[in-house]
Symmetry: D2
């Protein structure tokens, strides 16, 4: 594994942007490994992800900020720097369904997800055995009827204690309050078991079955204040037929949910996602 | 091409149904080529499609009705008989976009769609060249603002004159009135350029682009009184990315629309579709 | 879960087959839940799967054989009866790669795979932790250079001891001898990490990468004496691009392998597979 | 439609490449619309496609060559410049199957394929009606047994006469000689009706049917001296089942072939393809 830096930039598009950024990196002897850029012509936006090898880079990466500031200001950039050797801290929220949790834990264990998981947090204890199998700390915070505010206070305390960077809702069946989400803007990833915007809200498989659709879907997205309305990160579908009863939809859907959620989590961890206009750009 | 008969049945499920139907056909020496059945356990419905060779069948197919009546009554069947050597008469409605029309005409000409097309009907003249290239009669019935009622009257007259069995809306940009549709219940097939129920109504590609979905879709369905709400026949999707601008969505969507509409038309013509509970069963 | 019987039949096609079978079941008051049949017109073969509820069935299922024998003989049927409440005993062979094993264990634990797993058998000890996490007995039988014959003798002894019905090779990296396979004809399922027949044999991802294909695939199949040549049960593919290096192919391939293998195992367990002419019919 | 220039570059990877190219374009006031690059770390290759608006570009594009030469030489670049307002001249070779031809002609007529088609060339006359419908010149050059050399001489003469840039084999059933291909290196695109390298050579659908694969495929590729071995441009697959007979494979395959060939042709025309190591990079 190379030790790399990743720069994510969005700013108004104008001439000379690529030249300026490329010159800056070249001056400090960067060996660029990947560079990808995108222009949104309608919004006149320039979006870029560039990754370079820190081996041989002649700038103290701790001081990158100071050196890059003039360029960033000149071009009105929104930007952030990520380092591949920094493993973000991810908390997984789960209720009773355990398929997404099991999938994430396996991918983490096998090295596919380069993050730390200091915490699984659940309003039930059904999945505790999985946490133990993979040796991840498990915390049970029940959510009583009318007790959500209380529960969220406890959750936030635990999250802060563990310095969590990213929250993944792995079929967590409680709707988080707007207040909670404000603490983790664009850092809560959810999996919804439909092809959004179709069947947003409750019981999407039941409604897909009733409507007689020929494909079922799953959608991973960042959580915003409006339910199922946040920026979509990934979607996929699976063909069904009249032979599939509701239970078959749910079973086939589980595989979709796992895939679609794990891709989103991976892209987030690898700093491949840029957000703008309630959309995502995925630099793959 | 074999000369075959196709029997489509739906009725309350009960024991002895398959035995009764199979015995009836065997008694008259039917050579069954395909048989497919489905039980909807929730609604306690039995649905069946059976196709047999008329060569060697020892019943005058013209008198099938009379011989099958007792069975049909006993089991409260809704049923119909189709004959493979009967070519249904299909009218294509089109406005200015011609990709679905061109696709249907080619498939018809190549023998894939076993129907007659006595009529292309359009509120514009843009596609007349295609009709002429494939030697299909083209009729121009303009739809003036506030003139839909008048236009539909003319359309219905032409359709009746040609003894039309099936109407295909190949990106026809006018909404047909409930009154019109009553004349052709479950015999008007539309293509909607989204994965229904997402983005029903107008400008689905624009809305898909704005919402930032990662897949675009198309849906073919029977037209009912409620817009974009009829039984879905077929759906498919195509992956898009941030690199795709609105025009790319529209272009990629065209290929989806063609495929999804042509499959629906083919299945209808081959009597592969059974309707119930605002859904379709496709016996493929 | 209903207590059902499944009858799988293949025989020369002739008139009266469906009527005879349906009558037999109806006479004994069977409530048919699913019936699916297929005619191979080229080989003049009739293939059928029929599943009925044993609740209310007026024949001792233990004596089915005796009652059905006359019909089976008359129509020269190859047939077998499966009972849904009989859980087949499955052994999983694995080497070092653990993704397919982890996936199968999770699906078994969650109830998706209705079988018993009395045994995981490996030539390495790397996956023992997974066996322990899911509480499945793990047996380590090393395969030394020139020691395959010896190892297979040990393996066969263990398999016999556990009355194994089905062997799943979950990325087991040893080629089983023809002699071994003879003990489990059509009862060894393998996952090959390519779209067979492309890239049969060793290192398929390397060769796919070199050839510059645009999709990678995976294939599950029954193992026969000829390497990678047995009847294909399931295949799937995933799109790749020039951005994917060899490691990305391998990573994306893992998800394919898991899906494609688990579907095959499930269909086998649910008696949905009929074999003929080195092909499979999947009654889904 | 913007008037743009596209620069395609491949060269040994080294530091400063992006900076140098971006500076060069910026100096001449280029407004970059799209830029995409790729590093093949194994072969240490740098590959780039950059497209900019010629409106406002302060260099006579006719003299680009002269100005860019020093950079190209310094970095040992293989490069070429394409102009969006230059419409390449494409010849279509066809035999009797007309589905790919009909598809290409429709896409050309609708403006999706931005090229000229001065010539359809066939060893049969079956498709002449399509050429006439779309008003494209049709030339019949029969290929007699033992007369291929003679026929190719005639073909080459016609191609030269029309200054053809690109040859598309739209299910042309003759194998072109190595000698012929030398005249159009990397400028002959073929569609093969299988997922290469599976079923290369003759009768792929028959062999796919016999092998019992669960997906059929199609592959578009540049033609080289070795049959079905050239760089793959695009591939896709479609699911089939035991219900599909050979004729169904062929029919479903037609839709695949059309899609896969038309994408390849479009990418070639839009200068999105870079070739190296018998592979393609598609800058989409």
């Amino acid at each position: 594994m190379k030790n790399t830096a990743i720069l994510l930039i969005s700013c108004p598009d104008q001439k000379g942007l690529v030249a300026t950024i490329a010159n800056f990196l070249y001056q400090h002897n960067a060996n660029i490994l990947h560079a990808d850029q995108h222009q949104d012509s309608e919004l006149n936006l320039f979006l870029m992800r560039v990754e370079w090898d820190l081996d041989g880079f002649q700038l103290d990466i701790e001081e990158f900020d100071r050196h890059f500031a003039a360029i960033a200001e000149k071009f009105q950039m929104t930007w952030r720097l990520a380092l591949s050797n920094h493993r973000p801290k991810m908390a997984i929220f789960v209720s009773r369904y355990d398929h997404c949790l099991a999938d994430l834990l396996y991918r983490h264990q096998s090295g596919e997800l380069k993050c730390d998981i200091p915490l699984i947090l659940s309003n039930h204890t059904d999945t505790q055995w999985l946490a133990e199998a993979y040796r991840i700390p498990f915390q049970h915070i029940p959510v009583e009827r009318d007790g959500k505010e209380e529960a969220e206070k406890d959750q936030l305390a635990v999250l802060r204690h563990h310095h969590i960077d990213l929250i993944v809702l792995a079929r967590y069946m409680q709707v988080l309050s707007a207040d909670f989400i404000k603490h983790y803007p664009n850092r809560v990833i959810n999996i919804h078991h439909s092809f959004l915007p179709a069947f947003h809200g409750a019981k999407p498989y039941h409604r897909a079955f009733e409507r007689g659709v020929k494909l079922i879907g799953a959608t991973s997205h960042y959580v915003t204040e409006i339910l199922d309305d946040g920026p979509i990160i990934e979607q996929d579908v699976n063909r069904i037929s009249h032979r599939d009863e509701l239970d078959d939809l749910i079973q086939k859907g589980r595989d979709l949910e796992k895939m679609v959620l794990s891709r989103a989590v991976r892209w987030h961890i690898e700093s491949r996602i840029l957000l703008y206009a309630n959309k995502t750009v995925i630099f793959d």
